[in-house]
């Protein structure tokens, strides 16, 4: 717990109270809430009104301030010491949300507006969201489902999961994994340092898809008839594919290209140390690919001599312990 919450234990006798206020709002109004500790939970309705429910210390006061196009949830803490507040908001479907907190979990359900949700120690769970969706946490997990538009989902220490999303997607973590399922987008970028990146979704003609990690696996499932130019790069890892692949690579280094179909979209699969696996959508993901497994290191005569020499210098590969290799078999 944070220091100030310990202070809370000293200053407040367990008196909590519940606030329940509803105000009507004009279409186009945006909601802003900056919390400190506790949780923010937002659901939607079809009324043009905002209902603010909250459980909090009886010394804390909440108010709804309207400043032009913004409806701000203002909180006054006793003696300025922030305390934990559990917010339950019901807002119009169209309402854009700007939610932030420090030790706060944030969840939004069934929104059709723009969403920015940022926390430090909590997690962010969003279903819905349109045009712009930003979900960020430092320590906690970030999950976004059924969002469309420009989507950014980032966590530093934990994982990011996106499902049934469309639009321009940017997902990243450092210590966690990035898993995407049922994606219908033409612009996806997902990266992490220490985790797995997995993708399962459409590959649209002309689209751009980039998946990269340093020490994790990259596992990508695409439609059988995808048209894509694929570039695969790894230093210590291996590549396997359930697509029959014709290699037209002419360059040095552990990077090579091949084409699926007409080559229209661009896919980049990169891992420094992990496995890179490309499979058909609907096929289960297994750590060792099936039919067409390429030990690409030895494909290129010009590299062979060099690789023979380097082989002795290579560090032992770190096996990534996935724990759930079957998770991606849902189409």
């Amino acid at each position: 717990m944070i220091a100030s919450l310990a202070a809370l234990a000293l200053t407040v006798v367990a008196a909590t109270t519940h606030t329940d206020t509803t105000v009507s709002v004009r279409p186009g109004t945006r909601l802003e809430l900056n919390a400190f500790a506790g949780s923010i939970s937002v659901v939607t309705w079809s009324r043009n009104a905002v209902r603010l429910g909250a459980d909090h210390s009886s010394h804390t006061r909440l108010a709804l301030d309207e400043k032009g196009p913004v409806l701000n949830v203002r909180v006054e803490h006793w003696r300025g010491i922030p305390t934990s507040v559990e917010y339950q908001l019901t807002v119009p479907k169209w309402m854009s949300l700007d939610l932030s907190g420090v030790n706060t979990d944030i969840s939004v359900e069934n929104s059709e507006g723009e969403i920015a949700a940022e926390t430090v120690q909590g997690e962010v769970l969003i279903t819905g969201g349109a045009k712009i969706v930003k979900a960020n946490s430092v320590e906690g997990e970030v999950r976004v489902a059924r969002a469309s538009g420009k989507i950014e989902a980032n966590s530093v220490n934990a994982g990011v999961r996106l499902s049934e999303c469309s639009g321009q997607i940017l997902a990243s973590s450092i210590n966690g994994e990035v898993r995407m399922t049922d994606i219908a987008s033409d612009d996806v970028e997902a990266s992490t340092i220490n985790g797995v990146v997995s993708y399962e979704g459409q590959i649209k003609d002309g689209g751009s898809y980039r998946f990269s990690t340093h020490s994790g696996d990259v596992s990508v499932a695409v439609p059988e008839r995808a048209n894509a130019s694929v570039a695969v790069a790894t230093y210590n890892g291996e590549f396997s594919s359930s697509f029959p692949v014709t290699l037209n690579q002419t360059r040095k280094g552990k990077r090579f290209d091949f084409t699926l179909g007409s080559g229209s979209a661009r896919i980049e699969l990169e891992s420094f140390e992990g496995e890179i696996r490309l499979r058909h959508r609907g096929d289960p993901d297994t750590r060792r690919g099936n039919e067409f497994k390429y030990e690409y290191k030895y494909q290129y005569p010009m590299d062979k001599a060099k690789h023979e020499v380097n082989k002795t210098k290579q560090k032992p590969k770190t096996k990534q312990d996935d724990g759930d290799p079957d998770e991606d078999q849902e189409p």
């Binding site: 430090v120 210590n175 340092i193 790069a233 280094g253 552990k254």
Partner: protein, 258 residues
């Protein structure tokens, strides 16, 4: 109506502005001060002028009423390549991957990687890597920093790619030094704001900085062992960028909390 003409005492009022701005010679200044001692009108006028200047200096800036960024973003064309990429040298679709714009490494041409690094100080290093340009790699000297005083933002840039020699593995670390200087400065800023970050968050940030540092270490060693591998360099640069991003976020967090 306010009198915009000078005082009636004979002193040309422009002198008072010059006096206020410290633009008079010693002799002129003494003359003005002597005059002021005996002239109420000019003394009052000087006070007025001083007030005007003080108010001007303390004007605050506010962000524009609406967010102009979307309009700006629409007009940002992708970076023009300075080094012409002989992408024609490579057949087929394999050239497209170079057009990725979001790396700290500007476009990889088949023959050269140009990495321009800026640090907060006056120094900048030019790193010119060779991909397939000739096997011989000679020692490289970083370009000397330009004198600070002479720099004007509109001055034509030195032709970067033209004369720089090919890279050696040693340059990989020299290039990192410039970047590392910028990173170090961010780390200092984080350290000074560190007290304001929650201890648990700080631990998480530091743990993740270590995660990235380990990855950077591995990437650097790989580049040193395989300097001709252009993808490795871009992977290294992308990883460096992640570190900078994390430091920036943490620094911002520290500065907005507490």
């Amino acid at each position: 109506m306010t009198d915009t003409r000078g005082p009636a005492c004979g002193l040309e009022s422009g002198r008072l502005s010059a006096y206020l701005d410290g633009e008079l010679t010693n002799g002129e200044r003494r003359a003005v001060e002597a005059h002021l001692a005996g002239c109420e009108g000019c003394t009052a006028l000087l006070a007025d002028l001083r007030r005007v200047v003080d108010q001007a200096r303390s004007l605050a800036d506010a962000a524009p009423p609406e967010d102009l960024w979307p309009g700006i973003e629409r007009q940002l064309k992708p970076r023009a390549r300075r080094t012409p990429a002989p992408a024609q040298a490579l057949a087929g679709p394999s050239a497209w991957w170079r057009r990725r714009l979001d790396l700290a490494v500007p476009q990889l041409a088949a023959a050269a990687v140009v990495l321009v690094l800026l640090s907060a100080g006056a120094m900048w290093l030019l790193l010119h890597g060779s991909g397939t340009r000739g096997p011989a790699v000679t020692g490289v000297t970083p370009v000397a920093p330009p004198p600070v005083a002479a720099a004007r933002p509109e001055s034509t840039q030195a032709p970067l790619a033209a004369s720089a020699p090919p890279a050696s593995p040693a340059l990989v670390t020299a290039g990192n030094a410039g970047y590392d200087a910028a990173v170090a400065e961010l780390e200092d800023a984080l350290a000074s704001g560190r007290g304001r970050l929650d201890p648990r968050t700080l631990r998480v940030v530091e743990q993740n900085l270590r995660v990235i540092d380990r990855a950077l270490d591995e990437a650097r060693r790989a580049v040193a062992a395989d300097p001709g591998n252009t993808w490795l360099r871009s992977h290294l640069a992308a990883t460096m960028k992640r570190k900078v991003d994390l430091l920036r976020s943490a620094t911002l967090l520290a500065s907005t909390q507490g």
